[in-house]
């Protein structure tokens, strides 16, 4: 019984972090039709930036903050320098371009920080474990809480601010946004930056659990793809449900049938693509954020 509860909490940890990554992917897809392959590398970049900031200042909070803004800046730069040139072409070209960018960024990370596996210790206040009837590492609970806070923050940003309004408007009808006098290109750049920043924060949060390596984003990216497919490309709510689902399948799959849990997830992805390619939580007619 206790093993099951621990595994469920484990799944929740993975799921909430996965949500941050997938939500970023989803915002970018909804807004610009870009399936961003670089997302996993931006996640790794966030983790490394977090490591550097912790080493310099000793503050985990500053690490989260810096990762957010620096990765947002990198995302904005990528968008302005490369992706912007492809507007109007088939969305597939974005996918190919970001595939190439992934190689470039990963190599840059390897050049700066090397290939060796590195560690970022959890902040001392959050080390150890708590007893909730079951003993569970405090830091994992913190990851769950922090992810939820960030997710709620993004949700409020999207629904309650004028910037969020612009993002949602740009998702639904970019032409109308332009006609009404807003530079849609700027909205795109900011949207891409926001999505990237979420990946960066997720990277810092996960780093104390998984450690850091230049390839750390690859597996997570694949899972985030699966989440956005199941939840529906461009759907915030869908991403939330699907990431918890995938997180739990993973956690229990590892316990019950290691190796085969990924098969199950790929099979789910294929079924959703075939039966409801727009995702489970998107009406076939429109998009939502």
């Amino acid at each position: 019984m206790e093993a099951i509860a621990v595994q469920a909490l484990q799944g929740l940890t993975v799921g909430t972090v996965l949500f941050l990554v997938a939500a970023g992917l989803s915002i970018i897809w909804g807004l610009m039709d870009i399936l961003n392959f670089t997302h996993g590398t931006l996640y790794a970049l966030g983790a490394y930036i977090g490591m550097v900031v912790v080493a310099l200042t000793g503050s985990f909070w500053l690490a989260l903050l810096f990762a957010f803004f620096i990765v947002a800046g990198v995302g904005a730069a990528l968008e302005i320098v490369t992706l912007r040139r492809l507007f109007g072409r088939d969305p597939l070209y974005y996918f190919l371009l970001t595939f190439g960018l992934t190689y470039v960024l990963t190599e840059i990370i390897r050049i700066i920080w090397g290939d060796e596996f590195q560690r970022l210790p959890a902040p001392p206040d959050l080390a150890g474990s708590v007893n909730l009837g079951i003993t569970f590492p405090t830091y994992r609970l913190f990851v769950i809480a922090a992810s939820v806070v960030v997710a709620v923050g993004v949700w409020l940003l999207l629904t309650r601010t004028s910037f969020g309004l612009l993002l949602r408007a740009g998702t639904q009808n970019p032409e109308m946004v332009s006609v009404l006098g807003t530079n849609i290109r700027t909205v795109y750049t900011l949207g891409f930056a926001l999505g990237s920043a979420l990946a960066g924060v997720a990277g810092v949060l996960v780093a104390p659990l998984s450690g850091l390596s230049p390839q750390m984003g690859v597996d997570l990216l694949i899972q985030a793809f699966i989440v956005v497919i199941i939840g529906g490309l461009g759907s915030f709510r869908g991403a939330a449900v699907a990431s918890l689902l995938v997180g739990e399948i993973n956690a229990f799959g590892i316990m019950l049938a290691p190796g085969y849990s990924m098969l199950l997830i790929y099979a789910a992805m294929i079924l959703v693509l075939l039966l409801k390619p727009a995702g489970l939580f998107v009406e076939s007619s429109g998009r939502e954020v």
Binding site: T82, F99, M262, I270
Partner: protein, 352 residues
């Protein structure tokens, strides 16, 4: 949208350039033997194999406009079936190779059956998911496939009297297979069937309106492409004498897209060259000290520049510079592959 310009060269001239190419390729072992270490012969063999893989993928990506992100599945399937039937059941190379090709073809028929229902990014993701299932099976079913580490093939690999463990013999064998496959693929794209594929790529609705069973054409294109990929995969068995999950991994699926883009999609010979160039670049760059350790950086940059500035690849650059080549139907096909230029309005309706 331009019409299909099918102005064939006079029959003899049509064969001069490819003929010269083949002659040159036949001379390669002698040249390497004279001027370079024999390692380069192995490199030349791999360049041919990857060229074949990319050329087969061009049938799907270049001629039919369907960009799969899981084509390594069929390449790996060919290699795995051929390698494992030799290892586990003691088959000689030829039947193992034929079984490998059959396995890849059946797998392509199966995946294609589902995949052709989707388009663009969704098609790419579905093929990706299928290929990852093959990959997961390969790394999970350790007792049969060797799992993560793969398996070494230490048995003799021969084709009748030909010992394929000999580098030069293998090179000529691969060359013959590649030339035959090129002739086959060229026959396919120049047939009425190939013309319909181009129509599907340019305007699927119109093809359907004209009465063509579009889904069937897509399915056949998918199978043919998987078949050629499978043939290339089986050639990895005598080349590498080793099979590992890398042959099924999505990175290879991405790399083959790079090869086709680099060479110029929709030209057959372009991707053939593109595959060879990518293999050569990887080998060449990785031998260069600091750059070598990070050779994916220049490779990635080349790819990024290509996607942005030259989506028609080397063939596109050549066709633009040398006007006469435009009369070659192959080159014309390359021109047709031009995606809509970026002069479109900024906020054009996203096309799926």
């Amino acid at each position: 949208m331009q019409g299909v310009r099918a102005i064939p060269l006079p029959a003899p001239a049509q064969y001069v350039l490819p003929g010269l190419m083949v002659l040159l390729l036949v001379l390669v072992p002698a040249l390497i033997d004279r001027f370079l270490p024999s390692f380069y012969l192995a490199l030349a063999t791999e360049m041919l194999i990857m060229g074949l893989f990319a050329m087969g993928f061009d049938l799907l990506m270049g001629y039919t406009g369907m960009v799969s992100f899981g084509h390594a599945a069929f390449f790996g399937m060919g290699a795995y079936v051929a390698g494992l039937t030799m290892l586990r059941f003691g088959l000689p190379f030829l039947p193992a190779m034929l079984l490998g090709i059959l396995g890849a073809t059946v797998a392509a028929a199966f995946v294609g059956f589902f995949a052709i229902r989707l388009k663009s990014v969704y098609f790419a993701l579905l093929t990706f998911a299928f290929s990852q299932i093959f990959y997961q099976l390969a790394i999970t079913w350790t007792s049969f496939t060797g799992g993560f580490d793969g398996v070494a093939l230490s048995m003799p690999i021969a084709l009748g009297p030909l010992n394929l463990r000999d580098r030069a013999t293998l090179y000529f064998f691969v060359l013959v297979v590649v030339v035959l496959c090129y002739l086959f693929a060229r026959r396919v794209v120049r047939s009425p069937f190939g013309t319909v594929l181009l129509t599907v790529r340019e305007n699927e609705l119109r093809a359907a309106t004209l009465g063509y069973h579009v889904a069937r054409y897509k399915q056949v294109a998918f199978i043919l492409s998987g078949l050629l990929g499978g043939i290339a995969g089986t050639l990895m068995v005598p080349y590498q004498k080793f099979i590992s999950p890398d042959l099924l991994f999505w990175e290879l699926s991405g790399l083959v897209i790079v090869m086709v883009l680099l060479g110029g999609m929709g030209t057959l010979w372009g991707p053939l060259v593109g595959g060879a160039v990518v293999v050569f670049l990887r080998e060449w760059l990785s031998g260069m000290g600091l750059i070598g350790k990070h050779h994916l950086l220049p490779l990635g940059l080349i790819f990024v520049v290509l996607v942005i500035f030259a989506p028609n690849g080397l063939a596109g650059l050549l066709a633009r510079r040398r006007q006469p080549l435009l009369d070659d139907p192959d080159a014309t096909a390359g021109e047709l592959a031009t995606p809509q230029p970026t002069t479109q309005p900024l906020d054009a309706e996203p096309r799926l």
